[in-house]
Point group: C3
Chain length 432, copies 3
């Protein structure tokens, strides 16, 4: 193997591993942001992405995305990998992207969707819907031909995923008691902030793979600037969100710090290879402000998005795609005075959002008829963890044999509660 | 340094870091799967692996494994690293493997083993028992000479570790109240599913290093296919386990989703470099089904394996080793009609399992006599965290000065409980 | 791009990602070691490091550190990156170091510092104080000219950060009720040991990037030995701390196992490229013992350092810097009999500690006057999470509509508590 190919392979395999590790980030982020009673369920949905979704993309989607172009609409046949890169490395890297698109949706539909309907959604997303958008942008499809610039997928993954998340969250309806009759919002506090933050740090880490890995080539002069731009945009997004919440709510809000950083990452994903670092900083700043505003906007639509996926990925993705039209070093409106690229970017992101909304509406309505989209009210109240997976997320307080919780230890009990619960193995529930 | 050596060094050092990071995965996986009262203890055991185990392998084991071959049984003297790779990089990479072997055992003996006995077990495992098996398979030993194919250690690490785990869990006996007199099993619910899942995602991430890094050579044409096969087998294993539990228990079980993915990873470890991707998918599917069956089988043996290490690593490892004999692209029985390799694989994995069972039985019986293997009933009831480490894993509910827990605040107390516990610093316990 | 530059870029970008991921480690470590009521706040401080700190270093600090040397004191103008490495990759890598310096401080001031004062501290640390120390040691400043050897920053980052942590923790004063009138210490138990350990494992993982990445050159013959030395020192540090606590307290203490490993990492950071592996083992062993003793020493000073940052980073850093003078393979006192290097190392580390103490004292006193350093007693009692961020870290027990906690469900309630809390969405608090 020529040395250059070897280095490309090392680069792409390691960045693919980073991208796939982002699923761990999604899992912790979502488990931390939803209510305790649904933390197992969101985790299991990430497992669905990594298993059903990955296999759907591997068996079908990757060919639709990166096969030989047909009519500038879809790909067919064997995967066409870049030269100087083994096909297996390319496929592995692209797998991570497909799964990420599904994971964006998973957060928005949290706490109320049927598990079987989610599995089908993931299979269709990774096997069909996302691959076609990827083909349009990166596989030689019509948006590529128009000259749309979406380096690592602000549009093709994040805006698409955000649009799909919006459509499916709308079809599902809000969680019980989320909105009051007067349209006001009931806050469901995130269950575990340190865990959600850990998820955000893993996502941030993985994003180096997501963006810089998208060079697919270790000799690309853009590689290092991409990585720096990625980091700076995230820092700016997080800073903006912290400052906005300090100004607006008088407290530095952790969910917004998390989502501001992520929005910065989403927004720089399109332009990371083509903008100066000062522009990356600006893109991140705007994304961090947008996410606070966007979260409120989704609430005002009375759409319930438990983790803010629409604001982070949808709005961040749209903004990032347009920002290339504004700030691209070669063709940006603000940097060079040319408006052509901006028009193409706007057309492209509109097309992808429309594709996401339309396909998801069709899929969601079909699923509602065939399988049912939503769990029963009782399952929702009990929590999906118990209802769908038979186990709560946290079993720190163990049960007595007679079904009472340690907390319900009768007052005459002499032992201090810590001891009671620490010796919970005395009489666990039994299975035959 | 020639450029090729530089690239190999970068590759092996980074993949070694991934392999060593898997210890964080083991730690979270086990802390999440055991009961709360033993979560500190399993974490500390991973620290033992990373410290005592690493030094035992560095000072002794690596020479036994990779020194000059003596009688095809053990190595002696200076480590023989591959050409084009600095010895330090090779040693670091192999360190991660030795520690992983110890960590497999740690899960199976959780919640009841004496800490000092565990330290000795780790020293012997990393310094002696695993290195000899590594020598047989990779260091020029008799199994290597017979032509056994175990690319990254389904047999030499996972089947061995699983066998050692089985033997030691048997010698230790089950946790109190684990089995009823009629042989039925009492379920001890995992204490923290999101944490256990995070551990699984870290392990999955690190496995790219484990398998692809085992090329020890960045120019290997197998590198990218290995990485893809590794991922596909994990996806298939997780999918199989989810589907089986949905069919069998009517719920998608999170522990099985975790262990199914891990079993897929274990099983593909032997053949990742030599099978087609469709075969990797098949190997993963079978591993994911096996793990559900295997967990029940271990229960029926009345052996108590709190995290499923025997089913994941032991059975997954045996299956993966045999699967090379069946599906190897060059010599597999099903792919080419030749049975020779399958026989060698079967012999090899039997030898390694026997080696694991035998040495562990000797070690365990010796330790039982000299140090004692098992904590006292009282320590087990209190939990090993308090008994052996003086601290519970989670101190979310703080104490009052008089030793009562916040939860035991008398009802006449006006303050809401959240405030009580959030101001727990008023009167903490004091040390002189 | 020449192939060597491409490989260097890949190496430095990936190791920079590892270093930046260490922030996730700091976050989990600190969230796990502080009390529950301040876990959000420490997490938010890491976000401040990653956002405000990163931008301060990018916009100002990197020029002071790595611009053209002026009077051997500070740098000015464009960043001078090593040849064969893109400037963007170099800047990204150095960013991770600046943020790490700030994160060291964050732990020592946990649970009582005003958020705005912390933001200013981070901006000054990353924009000014650390960059100047970096210039002295690595940017052509006076310590570099004297021949000081501090490969990846035991002195320039860790001893400096530890000194700054000490000064600021002293100025802030101890947490309420931390010390009794007789000088005895009240133990505030870590809130979440598995999380803190996960943080330690991430830090350990990231340290491969920190130390080996500091070659900034993939062809460096030192690269692999650095990585191995780093690991061995951490293992030795952790082992020493476990053994010392077993001997001293009769229990293997998890905080000390964590901090002993980290101290080993800190201590080998200066010498990793220049000492033999046996010396790395020795350096780690001493660091692991020092950290136990140092934690007590800080207590005896009546300085309150909630996570042990002074003992780990301060003492580990000083020891590691001096250890190069003792054990350097070319110029160490014990290895070669020459005392010159040891004198330079001692001078250098004293200068850096003095710089850290002095600038922090000035900054702290200024901040105390202008913004106030410390939260109110009431905020401290309530916890900074509620007071400064409006949300507790863990919301596992949800509220009823009337503000009572699930735990306070009146006894006449029939539903078991688990169900009560799992259906907490019935009547959440509402926002208008």
């Amino acid at each position: 193997m020529p040395q250059a190919t070897a280095v490309n392979t090392v680069w792409v395999v390691l960045t693919a591993a980073l991208v796939l590790f982002m699923e761990g980030g999604f899992s912790l982020l979502e488990a931390g942001l939803v209510r305790t009673k649904n933390a197992v369920n969101v985790t299991m949905k990430i497992f669905v992405d990594l298993t059903f979704g990955a296999l759907a993309f591997y068996l079908l989607g990757v060919h639709l995305a990166f096969g030989r172009d047909l009519l500038r609409l879809i790909g067919i046949g064997p995967v066409l990998a870049p030269t100087d890169l083994p096909t297996a490395a390319f496929v592995l890297f692209e797998l991570g992207f497909a799964i990420a698109a599904a994971s964006i949706i998973s957060g928005a539909v949290a706490e109320r969707m049927r598990f079987s309907a989610y599995i089908v959604t993931v299979i269709l997303t990774c096997g069909l819907i996302y691959p076609i958008s990827a083909h349009w942008v990166w596989g030689g499809g019509w948006l590529a031909r128009l000259g749309m610039k979406d380096f690592a997928g602000s549009a093709a993954i994040h805006a698409l995923g955000g649009a799909m998340a919006l459509a499916l969250a709308y079809l599902l309806g809000p969680r019980r008691n989320r909105f009051n009759d007067d349209g006001s919002v009931n806050v469901f506090a995130p269950s575990n902030i340190p865990l959600a933050s850990a998820g955000a740090f893993i996502l941030w880490f993985g994003w180096f793979g997501f963006n810089a890995g998208s060079t697919l080539n270790a000799s690309s002069a853009a590689l290092a600037p991409i990585a720096l731009n990625t980091f700076i945009a995230a820092a700016a997004g997080g800073m903006a969100a912290i400052l906005v919440t300090m100004a607006k709510f008088k407290v530095a809000d952790p969910s917004m710090a998390i989502n501001g950083s992520l929005a910065g990452l989403v927004a720089i994903t399109a332009g990371c290879a083509w903008v100066h670092t000062w522009a990356a900083l600006l893109i991140g700043l705007v994304a961090g402000m947008l996410v606070v505003w966007g979260t409120g906007w989704v609430d005002r639509l009375q759409v319930d998005d438990p983790v803010g996926a629409v604001a982070v990925h949808g709005m961040g993705g749209v903004w990032g795609t347009l920002a290339v039209g504004l700030l691209d070093a070669q063709e940006g409106l603000l940097t060079t005075g040319h408006i052509h690229l901006l028009m193409v970017q706007a057309l492209g992101v509109c097309a992808l959002v429309a594709w996401g909304l339309g396909t998801t509406a069709a899929m969601g309505l079909g699923l509602r008829r065939v399988l049912g989209l939503r769990v029963s009210d009782e399952e929702e109240e009990d929590g999906l963890d118990i209802a769908l997976h038979g186990i709560p997320a946290y079993n720190e307080l163990e049960r007595f044999g007679d079904g009472r919780q340690a907390l319900f230890a009768p007052p005459e009990r002499e032992q201090p509660v810590a001891m009671v619960w620490l010796s919970g193995d005395q009489s666990p529930s039994s299975r035959p």
